[in-house]
């Protein structure tokens, strides 16, 4: 009897599995447009908010976003497994040339990266020159009382201890923005470490995984310095330092300063929006900030999907931007929104 039951059970299991695996995928029903997207993790909180609010207003359009990382987003878009991608760094010329179809960049929000540190007895916000940050991360400035740091922080008693440098261990858009800034302000960095990248061969320091990993290491280790996203610092009330901008002023990062950076550079933004805005000119500009992008194919065969994506982009540039500050993302400047709105017509 037991054996018979086992046989029945096995047959049922096999049949169910076969049916489950061979059943045709149910197609989108009743005019529902299902869009899939994948990519950057940095803008994930705002994207999921947007896609949710947008779906509530347009119940027939649903967007599924997988925050698998910028690299993964680009690869999946190129392979055609998602309808659109997202990335914290613009695609390189090489990557665009490798793609079988044309890909458009649309900036969505702005983010910034700030230096955070843990020095015994120092509670003031430190002023970091561009040279100081590059020197610390290159390993040429090794003590906290180095003249390059001390000269811009009068009245702060800096110890003569070794600086412990902390960077991200995982590939990330945060590292991309940070190294983009360092490569722009230091020729040594550009020659030794190279251009902006999500992971680089760090000359010195320890790696922490994620913003939380870097913050944890900096908090635990005396005399450490690290870099984290502005959003993360604000939400977790982590103190951070001021950074010297291209105009020579020391600026403490805030959302207005980040938008100012993008506005200051608006005229220089190329038509494909692939631009780095680190170290932008202007006295109020916070210099370590960047766009994050949606990557949209220029040609979309499925008319329903095409209309849905275009409509979403329009909504994102108008109503969508209102959600940014609640989640600590900086809004796009007006000039950029106007140009992007025009660019939507390029999607065909």
């Amino acid at each position: 009897m037991k054996k018979a039951l086992l046989v029945v059970w096995l047959i049922t299991l096999t049949l169910t599995l076969t049916m489950a695996l061979t059943a045709p995928r149910t197609a989108a029903q009743g005019g529902t447009v299902l869009l899939t997207a994948a990519g950057a993790t940095f803008p994930y909180p705002i994207y999921s908010k947007w896609f949710d609010v947008y779906h509530n207003a347009h119940s027939n359009i649903q967007i599924n976003y997988q925050s698998i990382g910028s690299g993964g987003g680009i690869r999946q878009l190129q392979a055609g497994t998602v309808d659109f991608g997202a990335s914290d760094g613009p695609m390189t010329d090489e990557q665009l040339a490798q793609s079988k179809f044309k890909i458009l960049h649309f900036p969505t929000v702005l983010g910034a990266v700030v230096p955070t540190y843990n020095i015994a007895g120092v509670t003031a916000d430190l002023n970091f020159t561009q040279k100081a940050l590059a020197g610390i991360y290159l390993g040429t400035i090794t003590k906290w009382n180095d003249p390059e740091i001390a000269k811009t922080n009068p009245g702060v008693s800096l110890p003569g201890t070794d600086i412990v440098v902390v960077h991200r261990s995982d590939g990330s858009g945060t590292s991309y923005i940070w190294t983009d800034f360092l490569a722009k302000v230091s020729d040594d960095w550009k020659n030794k470490v190279g251009k902006a990248a999500t992971s680089v061969n760090w000359p010195v320091g320890l790696g922490g995984k994620g913003n939380e990993g870097v913050t944890g290491l900096v908090k635990q280790t005396p005399n450490a310095i690290g870099y984290i996203e502005l959003i993360y610092a604000v939400q977790n009330k982590i103190p951070y330092g001021n950074v010297q901008n291209a105009a020579g002023k020391f600026v403490k990062a805030d959302l207005a300063g980040v938008t100012a950076a993008a506005a200051a550079d608006a005229k220089n933004i190329p038509d494909d929006f692939r631009v780095s805005i680190t170290n932008a000119p202007g006295p109020k500009v916070y210099p370590i900030s960047s766009f994050t992008w949606l990557l949209i194919p220029a040609q979309i065969q499925d008319a329903a999907k095409r209309d849905a994506i275009k409509d979403f982009l329009k909504w994102m540039l108008t109503d969508g931007q209102k959600f940014n500050e609640g989640l600590s993302y900086a809004q796009l400047p007006k000039e950029v929104i106007a140009r992007e709105t025009k660019a939507i017509s390029l999607i065909q």
Partner: protein, 332 residues
Amino acid sequence: MSAAATTIAHEVPPQAGPRAFLHRLRQGDQIAHLVTLTFAAVILLLTSMLVYELWINSHLSRTQFGWAFFWTKVWDPNFDNFGAAPFIYGTLVTSAVALVVAVPLGLASAIFLSELAPRNVSDVISFLIDLLAAVPSVIYGLLGIFIVVPLMRTTLGPLLIATVGNVPYVGVLFRGPNYGVGFLTAGIVLAIMVVPFIISVSREVLLTVPREQREAAMALGATRWESTWQVVVPWARTGIMGSVFLALARALGETMAVTMVIGNAAAIKASLLSPGDTIASTIANQFTEATGDLYLSSLIELGLVLFLITFILNGLARILIVATERGGGRPA
């Protein structure tokens, strides 16, 4: 099965063909054979698929770097120059530290639990140890961050530098800046993770040693410790070594807990206190954001290298076990 069906089956003389097959099917033998064969084949298929995928997808990196991939010390995504040496080194060093710490600890605990402790105490403790073996590795990572790292930075690290650091030859292992994170910390966290495996398996093996062996040793005048150390443990050494290799396998492939405490720097340093990185940790850290075909391919080749290391060490383990069996102890 109804009684009628059984009767019919017995009345009709056994024939070749479908009916006989059905008969055997009813007996269950055929099913058991098919099912187990299928599952065994699936395991084999999975392993070969895994190697095949790793091999194919690492093609770009293999042709670009060749054998030099094994000893190149640079990992530079920005200039497309990749070498596995720092990660191979980190993987082997952390696993070695883990075993050096965990084997004596685990073996001693297992001997106590199986030979010396009262049976009910032993059972309770063993249950708790089995529970420890099931704790997710990220929890051990947190334990590392909140307890081992601060301890290493403030107490253990400075102590090691001040004492062992001055001993000739061995001293190089404990010098230089002490951040709290690094090879030694990762090794200790790994040791904490694998100790339950060693204790649990070794205890089971020690308990299977026949009572007569102990009695015979004592009859010859051996003390309890002599009987344990010279008779019981040698008898069980194949099983004990099996537990050590199980622990090694876990240590080699551990990702999350290691990433959290090793410092993640692609560097080869003699000092156990310096930060490093392992193969598994690097793949987990960099895979999602890896852009560029060569970069991705190199990460996949790292996976292949880890597979190779595991394969070689497992092979060595087999050889060692065969060699010790020949050398006496348990009768073959």
